[in-house]
């Protein structure tokens, strides 16, 4: 939906590539790939010229930066996901998690604390958990909590808010609460047919090595493509929308919370860095900044695109707005009590 509209010039280019790809299917894709690469290399002079405007350069820099920053974490998540899919037997999770889903949700939420990294890693891992028979409610709690409550992110938060150590506690509590609440909500209301069972090669009859690398290739191609979509959106926001718009929002307590929550979705900053960014927005209240820190790792443009790719559009369209609303509510409550 909005993602594809948010970045007109680049997405157009992407579409052109896509269309070529689809039409060229009769020829076959390696040929198309070679032709695209040759064409761009041959036309690189005009291409560079077109990209030399400051706004385009800034856009490209942020775009490349988001991709380069996220790729190692994506690869880490993809490797973990492949390990879970191939080497960890399904019975392990059945034993490790409580039988009752209502109890499995908080356990899985707490387990998020051990996945070091940002949100790009958690999407493929959560996908692998669902495939391995973990109840979706628990896997979703893990998906939401892992990027927000792991030690690296909490340390970064403490460093970014040296004068407000309670911010770390508030972030931990609010994120865990939202993750568990979403897990329970899914268990209550969720329908399995919303969740596209992540389309996945069946590994039967294959060696472990083939299955492992098949899983890695599949996840990188999928999540990587959607990561690029999210990076385009974030770059567009950063390069085109003036920062002064934020100033207007800071005065009103209600508007300021909503503004920072929306900003967290649009900016799609890595959860390891978001605390530093929001710490500098000192004209906003601590509660508004807490909303930024809770919403950002759970739902942003990049994550939404990746969730569409991993779990299907029907799922992401329902899950994302619910997460967004719940994250804001819980942040305001926790902020009122703790900050």
């Amino acid at each position: 939906m909005t993602i594809t509209k948010a970045a007109p010039p680049p997405v157009d280019r992407g579409d052109a590539d896509d269309r070529q790809g689809a039409r060229g299917w009769q020829f076959n894709s390696p040929l198309v790939l070679t032709m695209v690469l040759l064409l761009v290399v041959a036309a690189q002079g005009p291409v560079r010229q077109a990209l030399s405007a400051p706004v385009m350069q800034s856009w490209m820099t942020v775009f490349v930066a988001v991709v380069v920053q996220a790729l190692p974490f994506l690869v880490l998540g993809v490797l973990l996901s492949a390990v879970i899919a191939v080497f960890v037997p399904p019975t392990f999770f059945a034993r490790a998690l409580p039988k009752r889903p209502a109890l499995a949700v908080p356990v899985a939420g707490m387990a998020g604390a051990v996945l070091p990294g940002c949100e790009c890693a958690s999407v493929p891992v959560a996908g692998a958990l669902v495939r391995r028979g973990v109840t979706p409610a628990a896997a979703l709690a893990f998906l939401l909590s892992a990027p927000a409550i792991n030690p690296i992110v909490l340390t970064a938060t403490a460093v970014a808010f040296p004068n407000d150590p309670r911010m770390v506690v508030a972030r931990f509590v609010a994120s865990l609460l939202v993750a568990c609440a979403m897990g329970w909500l899914w268990q209550r209301l969720g329908r399995t047919d919303w969740l596209r069972p992540p389309s996945r090669p069946a590994h039967e009859g294959l060696g472990k090595g083939a299955a492992f690398w098949g899983s890695v290739r599949h996840d990188v191609m999928h999540a990587g493509g959607f990561l690029v979509v999210g990076a385009m959106a974030a770059a567009t926001l950063k390069a085109v929308v003036p920062a002064s718009w934020l100033q207007a929002a800071a005065g009103n307590p209600v508007v300021s919370v909503l503004a920072l929550a929306v900003l967290a979705v649009l900016l799609s900053i890595c959860s390891e860095a978001d605390a530093f960014v929001v710490a500098s927005l000192s004209q906003f209240s601590l509660t508004a900044r807490l909303a930024f820190l809770v919403v950002g790792p759970m739902i942003d443009l990049k994550l939404f695109a990746m969730q569409v790719g991993t779990f299907g559009r029907g799922f992401a369209l329902r899950f994302a707005p619910a997460t967004f609303a719940l994250a804001i509510t819980v942040s305001v409550l926790v902020g009122t009590v703790l900050l």
Partner: protein
Amino acid sequence: MNRQAQAAVLFLVGAAVLHAGATDLYLRYVKAGLRPMLLGAGVVLIAAAVATVWYEMRGRGAPWRKGARAAHGAGYVHEAGHAESGQERAAADADRDGSRHGRTAADADGGGSRHERTAIDADADGHGHGNGNGQTAQDSNGHADGHGHSHREPLVSWLLVLPLLALILVAPPALGSYSALRTGTALQKPLAYPPLGHRDPLPMSLVDYAGRAAYDHGRSLTGRHIRITGFVALDHAGTPYLVRMALNCCAADAQPVKIGLTGRIPPVLRPDGWLEVTGTYTGRRSKDPVNGGVIPFLDVSSAKPVQSPRDPYDESWNN
């Protein structure tokens, strides 16, 4: 996108990441500490590409030997089967192997078989919708285009080519004056003011100087000659600033720290050009028009253009 193209994209992305990590290119986009992870990711991506090709050659032994056309047909049917039920590696299955050869032969007949093929695809589609399984946005885009295909690994994966081209061909520069002027100064009150060295002129980081000048009233700076490196930004009124972008994670979260220049400024200043200025503390300061942050000034006595530093960003906040 079929397996071979995927392997090629994986390999190229991996090589681009390795290239960026092995040279200083990556410092334009991310913090220095990410280097080991970047190199690791590059190696894993290349390994995945090699493994894909390796298993492809082994798994498809028979069709490969029957020539290019058979291999192509196999690839096609294979993707369709994948879209239909998520099954893969039909190659390992002897029965399906047989049927595929039959279909490949039909392919050779020409147009008629293409209809059959589209029918298979349409079937796969209906299947997907009937289950209420969400399809990806890119899939539905494909339908809007009227192509009527349903590939699983397909359209959106092609986007991976974009960062690849951007990184290899364009290699966009580190953020400069354009971003610096659009964003308010991110200067924060330093936690402490450690004693300065005794060299003269004293090399200082721009962020350190700005922090002391704005929040310590320049107490530790009076009477010292200070040398600072940063890039030039000129606002609408032509006021020259020396700027350093401060980085926490990647260029998406980079924020400028600005100091104003006064005194003997060189007559011609090129925005984005790097300058090494020597000067003294001055009490003058102004407000950033974007966010109202403090911009301290430096009284310049001499300035000379320099090469941009190895790491264009200030990462001191990160540690």
